[in-house]
Symmetry: D3
Amino acid sequence: MPKLKKATKALARQTAAKPTLRAIKGGKPLPASKNTPDDAPAIALNLPPAKLSPAMDAYFRKCQEKLGFVPNVLLAYAFDMTKLETFVAFYNDLMLGPSGLSKLEREMIAVAVSSQNRCYYCLVSHGAAVRQYSGNPLLGEQIVMNYRAARIDKRQRAMLDFAVKLTVQPWAVEDADRERLRRAGFSERDIWDVAAVTGFFNMSNRVASATDMRPNVAYHGQVR
Amino acid sequence: MPKLKKATKALARQTAAKPTLRAIKGGKPLPASKNTPDDAPAIALNLPPAKLSPAMDAYFRKCQEKLGFVPNVLLAYAFDMTKLETFVAFYNDLMLGPSGLSKLEREMIAVAVSSQNRCYYCLVSHGAAVRQYSGNPLLGEQIVMNYRAARIDKRQRAMLDFAVKLTVQPWAVEDADRERLRRAGFSERDIWDVAAVTGFFNMSNRVASATDMRPNVAYHGQVR
Amino acid sequence: MPKLKKATKALARQTAAKPTLRAIKGGKPLPASKNTPDDAPAIALNLPPAKLSPAMDAYFRKCQEKLGFVPNVLLAYAFDMTKLETFVAFYNDLMLGPSGLSKLEREMIAVAVSSQNRCYYCLVSHGAAVRQYSGNPLLGEQIVMNYRAARIDKRQRAMLDFAVKLTVQPWAVEDADRERLRRAGFSERDIWDVAAVTGFFNMSNRVASATDMRPNVAYHGQVR
Amino acid sequence: MPKLKKATKALARQTAAKPTLRAIKGGKPLPASKNTPDDAPAIALNLPPAKLSPAMDAYFRKCQEKLGFVPNVLLAYAFDMTKLETFVAFYNDLMLGPSGLSKLEREMIAVAVSSQNRCYYCLVSHGAAVRQYSGNPLLGEQIVMNYRAARIDKRQRAMLDFAVKLTVQPWAVEDADRERLRRAGFSERDIWDVAAVTGFFNMSNRVASATDMRPNVAYHGQVR
Amino acid sequence: MPKLKKATKALARQTAAKPTLRAIKGGKPLPASKNTPDDAPAIALNLPPAKLSPAMDAYFRKCQEKLGFVPNVLLAYAFDMTKLETFVAFYNDLMLGPSGLSKLEREMIAVAVSSQNRCYYCLVSHGAAVRQYSGNPLLGEQIVMNYRAARIDKRQRAMLDFAVKLTVQPWAVEDADRERLRRAGFSERDIWDVAAVTGFFNMSNRVASATDMRPNVAYHGQVR
Amino acid sequence: MPKLKKATKALARQTAAKPTLRAIKGGKPLPASKNTPDDAPAIALNLPPAKLSPAMDAYFRKCQEKLGFVPNVLLAYAFDMTKLETFVAFYNDLMLGPSGLSKLEREMIAVAVSSQNRCYYCLVSHGAAVRQYSGNPLLGEQIVMNYRAARIDKRQRAMLDFAVKLTVQPWAVEDADRERLRRAGFSERDIWDVAAVTGFFNMSNRVASATDMRPNVAYHGQVR
C-alpha cells in the first residue's frame, strides 16, 4: 500500500474524545523489596526513551494521576513518538471507543487470547482490568487459567470460543463460526470487534513476549 | 489505560511524511471472467462503507493511481473512519517508516508469519510485495510455501526463524532468542521492529481470517 | 499386580507423622455474594459423602482449624473413605514428607504442571501455596501464567523445565534430561521427587478437570 | 493442606482386603540371552533399595509366587517404604478394589492412556493385563497401537474416548463429555473411576518415563 | 512379504498405455539470472545419474518435448533405473490412469496435502498443474495457501477435508469419514483413489523434503 | 509429468529378481474363535477382487507357501491388477532390493514411522517383521511403543530420529539433519533409502487408515 500522506483530522478528532474510562485504581502498595525485580526496566531491549511529545506528555501525566503509574507498555513504546502515538490511538479506539461489546467483554477477550499465548505482561495487566470492570476477582482468575471454567452466559462463551479458535487455528475459521456468533446475538459490527480485539492481543502478546515486557507490580494487588 | 484525550500533533506529522514507497504496479490484467469470484465483496461481514474522510479519500485516490486499485483491506476497514485511519497510520509507520529493516525484509516477515497462520489474504498481497521488492518471483513463493526453502543469508534466516518462533510459540521466546538476533547483526531497535512486524501480521492474519477477507485479483499476476 | 493383603503398619506409621506444615492461613474474607458461585458444590458429579472415618474426621477438623476451610479436593474424595485416605496418605508423603526439594519447590512444580494442563482447581489452590511459601505474590502469578517469566535461579529453572517437558512430551524424556538435573545439583532421590510431583499433578489435574472441581473461594485472596 | 496426623485404620482395613486378582501367570520363559538387557536395573536412577517392611516383604513374596516375578515398578519404589506402601495402597484400591468398571475395563483405560503418552513400561505391563483379562491377544495390541482399531462396544468406546481426551486435552473436558458417559450407561461413581484411572496412568506414565523404567521381560510373552 | 519373482506383463501393459495427458506447457522463460539458483542441482544428495534405460530415455525425451524440461523429481530418481521406473509406473497409474476422480481433482489433493506438509517442490510443481488443469490461476494459489479459502463445490470440499484429515491425523480416520465421502457422491473405488493420492503425496513430500528437492524454475511462471 | 508410454523392460527385469527373503513363518495358530473378527474382510471398502494376473497369481501362491497366508495389504490392492503390480514392484525394490540398509533396518523405520501415525495394520505386520529379522521380540515391541526405549546403537538411533522427524515435521528437515546421518556413517545413497522407506510408510499408513485395513491374525503370534 502507498504511504499515507496527509494529516488525518479524523484521527486527531478521535484521540480527542472525552475520557470515559472508569479509572482502575492502583492496588494496595507492595513491600518495596518485592517491587524491584519486576518493575524495571520495562523491557529487555536497551531502547533509550525519546522526548515525550506534548500529547504524550499529557497522556502520561493523566495515567499517573488516574492509575498511580504509567503502564509499562507505554514506556516500552516511548523510544519513538510516532510508534507510541499510533499505538495509543489504535488501542484507545479498540478498547475504549464505541462498540457493541462492553469494555469488560473486550478485556475478557484480551485475557482469553493472552492465556492461549501465555503472555505474562498481558495476563497481569488485563487480568486486573477484568477484575476491575466485573467487580468479580474470580472471573479474572478463571479467564487467565482456563476460560472454560468461568460461569458466563452463552453469549460471552460464544465470544470467547470464537476468540480462542481464531487465536489457535485462525486458518480454520469459516462461515459456520461467524454464524455461531450471529446466533448468539452478535451484529456484523460486533463480529468485527471480536475479531479486531482478538487480533490486537495476538499482536501485543508477541511484542510483549519478544521484549520480555514486565507488568507494573501494582496490577497484582488490584481488586483481589 | 486511560483514554487518550488530546489531538496528537505528532501523529498528524507522521502521517504527513513524504511518500517513499516504490509503487507496486498492478500486474497484467486478468480476464474479466476470473476477476469476479474473488474481487467482491472484500469481506464476509455486511458492513456498509462510511463516507470517506478527506484524508482517506485522498489516500484511496492515491492507491488507485499508484496500484490501479484500492487494496481490499482498506475497503474492509472503511465502515468506520477512525478505525481506517488508525490502521493506516499504524501500518504506514510500521511497514514504510524508517527502520533498520529494509522494506523487503519487513515484507518477508509478513509472508513468513502469514504462512504459519495460513492467511489467504496476506499471503497473496504480501507475497506479491516480496516478489516486487526483491525482483525475485521465486523468493515470494518460497516464503509462502516454506521459508526454510529460500536461499537467503544468515541474517535474514535468523530474522525469519525469530518471527516464526514468535508466531507459533510466543511463550517460549527468551533471552537466547534475542541474543541470536544480536549476533546476526540486529540492533536493539531492529529487534523491536522484527517483533512489531511479526506481531502486526499475527493481528492482520486473524482479522482477515475472521472476516474471510479476499485479496484483489490483480495481486496474483504481479511480478511472475 | 496381586492385591495387597495385609494391613500396612508402615503406612499407619507414616500418616501419623508430626504435622510440620506451616499453615496457609485463610486470606481476607470475600463478600458473601462472591462466595457462592464457586464454593459449592465441590464437583459436578453427584456423589453423596460417606461417613467420615475417625482419622478423616480428625483431619477435616484440623483443616478447618488451620486453614479455615476443608479443601474441596478432600470433599470430592469423601464419598469413599478408602479413596480419601489413600489419596491423603499419598499426598502428604509427596508434598509434605522429607525430600531434597523444599515444600516451595514442590508447589512450584505443582503449579507449572497445572499451567500446562490449564487446571483451574490446582492453579488456584497451589498458586496460593506458592505465594504463601515464597512470601512473593508475583512468583505465584508468574508460574501460573508462564514459568519462563519467573526470575528464578538455574536450579529451579532446570527443575521446572524438566517438569514441563515431562508433562507435555513424556515420551521424549531421556538420559540427557536426567543429566541436566544432575548437573544442576539434584541428587538421584531429588530426581525421583521431581518426577513424582510432576506425575502426581498430571493425575490431579485430570481428576479435577474430569469432575469440574471448584477451588474454595478463600484461596483467591490469600497472600496478594 | 495440613499434614495428616493419625494412623488411618480404614487404610489398614482396605489394604487387608481379600485378594481377588486372578493371577496373571508368567508367560513362557524367554531365552536367557534375551532376558538380560531389559530386566535390570529397574530404573535409570541409582536408588539403593530400603529394607522391606514386613507388609511389603509379604507382598513381594506373594508377587513372586503368583506372577513368578516382582513387577519392576515395585522394585522402583522400594527405595522408600512409605512411598512403596502408599503407592501400593493407592494402586490396589484403584485397579483391584470395588468399582462399576470391570478390571479389564480399568486395564483398557491404562493402556489407552499409556499409548497417548508412549510409555514403554506401562504399555508392556498393562498390555499384558488386557490380553490376560480379556483372553483376547488382539485386543491388547489394538489398544497399544490405536484404540480406535479395536472392535469394542459403544460403552467401552465412550469410556476410552473420554480417557484419551482427558489425557491429551484435559482443559477441554466439560459437561458435554460427562453427559456422553452418562448416556453410555456410566453412573456418577463410574465416571469418577474412569477419571481416577485415567489420572493415575497419566501419573505412572510420567514416573516411568522420567526414570526409564524397564518392564519385566516376562510380560512380553504372556497370553500371545 | 516375499520378494516378487516373475516379470509382470500387466505392469508392462499398463505403462504402455496411450498418453492422454494434456501437456502442461512451460511458462514464459525467466531471466537467466533468476534461473540459476533453483534449477540445479535437483537434490542435496550427491547421487550420480545412472545410464537411462531405453524406456526412461524415451520418457525423458517425451518430457523435454512436451514440457520443455524434465521434471527434477525424475532427475532425482535417475541414479537407479529400477527406482525411477517403479516410481514412474506408480505415479502414472495413480495420477493419469483411469479414475472417478478427474486429473484436476487428483492434483487438488496433491496440493492440499503438500500444503499441510509445507513441501516446496510439490507445491510449486503441482500448484502449476492445478492452475493448468483448472484454467484458474487463483485456485492453485488458494489450495497452496489454505484450501478452505477456495470456492469449490461440496463434493470437492469433502474430498479435500478427507485428504487433509488423513494427512494430519491419519489415526483418527474412521467409518464416519468414509461415510461423509459416500454421501458427497464418491464411490468405493473413488474413496480408494482419494486415499491413494493422499498417501502418495505424503510419501513424495517427505522424499522431497529429505533431499531438498528443488522444482524446475519454469513451473513458477506457468498459467499465471 | 507426461504419461509413461512404453513397456519398461527394466521394471520387468527388476521384478524378476531372485527371491532372497528369509521367509517370515506363520506364528502359532490362534484359536478359530479369535481368528474371525480381524481376519476378514481386509478393508472397509467394498471393492470386489479382480482376476489375478498370472504374475500376481504366482506371487500370491508364493506368499501362501512361504508365509502360510496372503498379506491383507495385497488382497486390498487386488481389485485392480495395475495397482497391485505397481505396488508390489515398488515395495519389493524398496524393502527387499539392494541397499546399504539391512532389511531389519528398513523394517525398523517402517515401524517407527507407523508408530507416529498409529497405523494398526502396519504396526502389526511390520512389528512382526522386526521381531523376525532381529530375533529379538522386545525390539519389535519397543519400536511399536516408543523407539526411544530401544537399546540400539548410535547409527540406528540417528536413522530413526531422522525418520521420525521426517514423519512429524517434514518441513523442518534441513542440511543439518542430513549431516547428522552422514556423521553416523550413512552414505548419500543410504540417506535416500532412509527417506524413501520413511516416505513409503507415510503413504501406506494412510492408505491403511483410510480403508481400515486389518492385519492377518497370524502376525500377532509370530516370534514372541
